[in-house]
Symmetry: C2
Subunit: 338 residues, 2 copies
Amino acid sequence: MKNITLKEIATTLGISITTVSKALKDYSDVSEKTKKAVKELAENLNYTPNSFAVNLRTKESKTIGLIVPEVTHHFFSNIIKAIINAAEKNGYLVIILQSNESLELEKKQVELLINKRVDGILISLSNDSNNDSHIQDIIKRNIPLVMFDKIAKLSNCSKVVIDDQKAGFDATQHLIDKGCKKIAHIRGPLNPQNSIDRYLGYKKALEKNNIPFNSKLVYTCEKVTFDEGMLFTKQLIEEHPDVDGIFAITDLVAVGAVAYCNELKINVPNDIKIIGFSNWFMSQVITPKLSTVEQPSHEMGIVAFDLLLEEIIHRREGKLFTPKTIELDTQLIIRESS
Amino acid sequence: MKNITLKEIATTLGISITTVSKALKDYSDVSEKTKKAVKELAENLNYTPNSFAVNLRTKESKTIGLIVPEVTHHFFSNIIKAIINAAEKNGYLVIILQSNESLELEKKQVELLINKRVDGILISLSNDSNNDSHIQDIIKRNIPLVMFDKIAKLSNCSKVVIDDQKAGFDATQHLIDKGCKKIAHIRGPLNPQNSIDRYLGYKKALEKNNIPFNSKLVYTCEKVTFDEGMLFTKQLIEEHPDVDGIFAITDLVAVGAVAYCNELKINVPNDIKIIGFSNWFMSQVITPKLSTVEQPSHEMGIVAFDLLLEEIIHRREGKLFTPKTIELDTQLIIRESS
DNA sequence: TTGTAGGCGTTATCAG
DNA sequence: CTGATAACGCCTACAA
């Protein structure tokens, strides 16, 4: 099957390419008669404009890039889903790339997207991303950019986040309200802002309730995995048998903690109360069901895309655009583990 | 930051665009001296070719499209991950779209990808896809196409699958080996090939072991969800209290079955043995841990991409390409639920 | 109301 | 070894 071009329509109709082009776009200066003829033929021949040519002409590809640390994480796959849908509704397609939590890869992906000349970029940073020269690159080139969830505070671009500190505070406060006196925190890596903030929220809650902070009770994940959840819970129980509460950086880790307790017949929540973060699907199907913090992934995806679109449109119209930061609400979900 | 073009390099160096273009591509008929000068300047100016122009010229976008029913399902997000990585290694980017299990949406997505002129399409069909006019569309236009996992047997394109019938047989045989006498099957929708095949495998295993097949013991999911897993298990236990084994179309449904049994204090595996399909991550963190069938998602993604690439290359070189079907091995994973 | 001409940035052909 | 020229397919001032 051959690809139809404006030229072919023009020649078979015996008119000029220009007129065909205009007719298809309903320009007012084309007669109804020719419009009708052109549209009919285009329809019959199954004409679709060659997007390569359109891209070159308009300098737009109607494509955006999306970089996440890890496609398979429930939180991110939910966001991806929301973004793809929002984009499609607005006539955009989405190229997805993953950094695998590696700064080096992340830089490469950014470069790929820049070279691809996408109309905008959505990114959630890897845990490794302490250096943001690649982010500056995007900004310098005037490519619309929105960061979400895992952001760099100082970058001059739009951001969509939750209040991780407040959420961490709420989770810890909940454990305290339930009677916990000695609460451990399995935190995320040292670098990412959200792992810092959740940690700070944890600390603040202890402080506010006059519970002494003990840095020995804070365990730091490197990979933020199920296995680390199990491992640190083992360590923590061996080193501090009287711990009665655990706040984990994310559900995957919390589920590891629950699994370890189940294995050792340590009763959750009676002996130890556990709360996670993110409300992954699996947290409601394990026993006991995991208490957690709901992160609005769907909404985050939509808001991030909307912000990006706003910037794309502003830029296209030559207006200046001031980056915005939008903070979304989180919510405690109390189930059986606390 | 302005975008650098060949023209600018040419004028600042006082040579022709042609020479610059050739120099950058290491054509043998350019002197080392000019090559060096050109490359240095290009490097300094941060030149990257305008992909829109390259696309137009070469009629290739180095981009492929990927359509899955549901991004958030563990099996698919694993495949997506594998495909993105394989594609990137080979210089391709991936546009991802989801059909949400709707044929109508699937057709629209296919159209979007065709209009985008991607170099190839990877697709896993929605449960609704009984009609394949959109697939024929892809084939008619000579766009390289590979179907994976959820395929249409009759379509004339490459395919990557597992032997669902054998896997269904193995799962059922396992339950029989463990002593089950009355085994129910919670199957998938009537239309998709893999749900048909798993069902046939179930039937065959019963037959081979002289267990009478009873159509009343087969429950059919519409949405293939956790909730349906719970619901059908409830029904099935009420209607057939002596059922001692359940083979579920997928882990999500099996996890629902386990959850219902847990709720009713029905002991799994003592009272009822349950086996799922796909080996989702969650199946190893629930209690009891779920027995299941490992589907090689990572490998499937890689093989699917490789097949697509092979077809792209063949086509580009004008050779003819005969579609292939590759069947991947599955593996029983026996845990605590059976 | 219709058409001509030029250009988007690159690559390929062919002549010098 | 280098460069002029055309072409990819579309869009848009500007003429007619």
